[in-house]
């Protein structure tokens, strides 16, 4: 099976979708001729023409707002916001319009759009190239929120998102674009070509939205992770020797509660990890759900390891990024509690 990077897998997902359905349109800043600042749309304009893949003015509200109009017409736009840090000008369009169009019109109009955006830190991106704003979207009724962690899932989830009848926020951890990353910045990074999840089938396949996957089976403690934190969790489990069950959530909304509850009832312990800031982050929702659904099985308080409640700094990158050492300490504390 061919090996692909996450970038190539995402590009392949759009290629496959555009070939299958002429209603699929791809646009955003630098997305057309140049092929995207991360190369995710390279070659699509040459292959499908300027009507299907084109450059947009630097206006996130314009990109998402026009995509909503296109979806109301009957197209299926898959648009890009260059960095998740720059989605805020489009927030009104996403929250007030895309998320509510089906509901407020009683299905008279619908909004099958995908908004792709590179997310997350660990790349010395500083304040405006590192944010993880997923909680701002999981709080919005009517949206679906997806965060892939590997090339195989990225392709399957993106095709599923494009085919989904509802608006999907598709957050791509840019730290994982070229290879998995466990937080050990002092070591050289291995490329996806050396990782089994870099195996990406040709052609059409989907990974269904709303389904988590167990990345590492274990019995001692459940770790709820997504995106880059999946690899941080794997490293922390290995380094502490704790037999953690690591769940890659993949879709945050709607959430695969069944897999989470099944695991925590088995292990009796739960640690949640995300890059986003702690307070009112998605981990708070996960923690509350675990507490509500697994209270009588819990043998320790649910722990959260997250970015600090500060803007994402530059020089202090590795003091901020929740790496395997910090997660490892939380795992040990949870086991001892």
């Amino acid at each position: 099976m061919p090996r692909r990077t996450m970038i190539e897998a995402i590009r392949d997902a759009m290629d496959v979708s555009m070939a299958r359905d002429e209603r699929v349109i791809v646009f955003g800043e630098d997305v057309g001729f140049f092929g995207g600042v991360f190369r995710c749309t390279q070659g699509l304009q040459a292959k499908y023409g300027k009507s299907r893949c084109f450059d947009a003015p630097i206006s996130e509200a314009g990109i998402v707002g026009s995509a909503i109009g296109m979806a109301a017409y009957g197209l299926k736009p898959c648009v890009e916001v260059q960095f998740a840090d720059y989605v805020y000008p489009a927030y009104d369009q996403i929250v007030s319009e895309a998320a509510r169009l089906r509901y407020r019109s009683n299905g008279d109009f619908t909004c099958p759009i995908v908004v792709r955006m590179p997310t997350g830190g660990g790349i010395f991106g500083g304040q405006t190239h590192s944010q993880s704003p997923e909680a701002l979207f999981t709080h919005v009724s009517g949206l679906k929120v997806v965060v892939p962690s590997n090339p195989h899932d990225a392709k399957g989830l993106l095709i599923a998102a494009i085919e989904d009848p509802d608006p999907v926020i598709f957050l791509e951890p840019k730290r994982l674009y070229n290879g998995p990353f466990d937080g050990h910045h002092e070591r050289p990074v291995t490329p996806w070509s050396k990782h089994e999840l870099g195996e990406v089938a040709d052609g059409h396949y989907t990974v269904p939205l709303g389904m988590a996957v167990i990345r590492r089976p274990g019995v001692a403690v459940t770790v709820l992770a997504y995106g880059t934190m999946v690899y941080v969790a794997e490293a922390a489990a290995e380094e502490t020797g704790i037999d953690a069950e690591i769940i890659d959530l993949r879709t945050l909304l709607p959430l695969d509660l069944e897999t989470i509850v099944g695991s925590v009832k088995k292990t009796g312990r739960c640690v949640i990890v995300h890059e986003a800031t702690l307070t009112s982050g998605f981990g708070a929702e996960l923690s509350a759900l675990v507490q509500e659904n697994c209270f009588y099985h819990l043998e320790a308080p649910v722990a959260r390891v997250a970015g600090w409640d500060t803007p994402y700094p530059h020089a202090q990158e590795w003091d901020y990024f929740p790496g395997p050492a910090r997660l490892g300490r939380a795992l040990l504390e949870t086991m001892e509690a």
């Binding site: 349109i25 314009g62 707002g65 026009s66 009104d92 369009q93 169009l101 089906r102």
Partner: protein
């Protein structure tokens, strides 16, 4: 350069406040028929002055004059008059229904009836409007059932939107009327996207975007003009300048720009101003702009100069911020009276027939209201089910919503 002293902060103010004498002497009104009608494929750079004038057809004597006249037959004009009278009558009844507690909220069109009623007749089937909350004439003039509008206003058991939306936030794909949102200006860029989609699909349909004077200050107005200009989208960009954004006079949103139409010039978009109370002028300009869009000539911006005669909404009292008689002093008059006088002048209408028509229309509206009220009003009779509240958030209900619906006991 000499020292200019301390900086001074500038805040625009309307000419007159409550207690003052209404004064529109600063509003320049060109004579009817005086603005030329260019070809639709005109070079936009040669008609920049049109953004500062006002296209008018009906003169003081009620005659249709000049190059924008002569497009509509007697029957079409009589239809137009009936649409405007119906909208006004509908407004009056629904405003009263709100006062009677049959609904929570209403917004009237008083004085602006010509804009949406005449515009609708310039579109073709399949074209899509992206309206604000003050273009219900688009529905009336397209024959959308008044009973359905009232069902929506009453949030009753027959409400097509299942009680989920605030009154007057209609939606009808079938009638080319995009779902209204409470968030201002959002639909302006969506209209451009819809038009881009039509062009991408090599279709022949066009879009119409709608915005008020106040909302042009929103950033989505700017996005829409950029995208429309960049992609030459087949869209008519309508700005309804009714002088007021709730209590805020249009000078606050307009600032140093001479007119709202002039905003389009910087984007290379042909921009016209039209007498919004002149049914014939509105229709002629709409037709011109629609033809441009349909001929791949790109977007047109149209500013409708009109006046918001009524309160902003059923929750507003304009006497707190503008003179009570200001609407009487408005130099462009009343759109219904002006079309009525024109039809009398044409010899196809009379004061007697007008009075009779008013009574007939009121009867039709009351009959529709009776029928709607059989399905319930906001606080009495049939209403949408609690189950409906959980439907339609997604195409398929996800597990967490199913659990919540169970918790709600439905």
């Amino acid at each position: 350069m000499a020292d200019a002293g301390m900086l001074r902060f500038h805040v625009p103010e309307p000419e007159v406040r409550p207690g003052g004498t209404p004064d529109f002497s600063n509003v320049t009104i060109p004579k009817a028929g005086s603005v030329p009608r260019p070809e639709t494929d005109v070079d936009p750079r040669t008609i920049r002055d049109m953004a500062f004038s006002i296209i008018r057809v009906l003169n003081r004597a009620g005659e249709a004059v000049g190059p924008w006249a002569g497009l509509l037959s007697d029957d079409e004009l009589l239809d137009g008059l009936r649409h405007m009278m119906t909208l006004r009558s509908f407004d009056a009844r629904m405003q009263m229904a709100q006062r009677q507690g049959k609904t929570s909220f209403y917004m009237q069109h008083l004085g602006e009836e010509a804009v949406s009623c005449a515009f609708r007749r310039a579109l073709a089937p399949g074209d899509m409007n992206f309206p604000t909350y003050r273009q219900a004439g688009l529905l009336i003039a397209d024959g959308y059932p008044m009973v359905t509008m009232m069902n929506q206003i009453y949030s009753n058991e027959a409400d097509p939107l299942k009680g989920r939306q605030l009154p007057i936030m209609y939606s009808s794909k079938e009638h080319g009327f995009f779902s209204i949102s409470g968030n201002l200006a959002t639909q302006y860029i969506q209209a451009v996207g819809w038009a881009m989609a039509s062009a991408i699909s090599n279709d022949s349909k066009i879009a119409a975007a709608w915005i008020g004077d106040g909302s042009t200050a929103e950033s989505d107005f700017h996005s829409a003009l950029v995208f429309a200009s960049t992609y030459k989208a087949p869209v008519v960009l309508n700005v309804v300048n009714n002088q007021w954004a709730i209590s805020t006079f249009q000078g606050i949103a307009r600032g140093g720009s001479g007119t709202f139409a002039a905003r389009g010039l910087g984007f290379g978009i042909p921009s016209l101003r039209v007498d919004g109370n002149d049914y014939l002028a509105v229709h002629a300009v709409a037709k011109w702009a629609a033809e441009r869009a349909r001929s791949n000539l790109g977007p047109t911006l149209v500013e409708y100069v009109t006046y918001r005669v009524g309160a902003h909404s059923s929750s507003d009292d304009p006497s707190a911020y503008r003179p009570k008689a200001e609407s009487d002093a408005w130099p462009l008059g009343d759109p219904i009276v002006r079309l009525k006088n024109h039809l009398i002048q044409r010899g196809v209408w009379s004061d007697e027939r007008h009075t009779q028509a008013e009574a007939e229309i009121l009867e039709t509206v009351i009959a529709a209201q009776r029928e709607a009220e059989r399905h319930g009003t906001l606080h009495a009779g049939g209403k949408p089910s609690t189950r409906d509240m959980f439907e339609g958030v997604y195409a398929e209900m996800p597990p967490h919503l199913r659990r919540q619906r169970q918790q709600a006991g439905v």
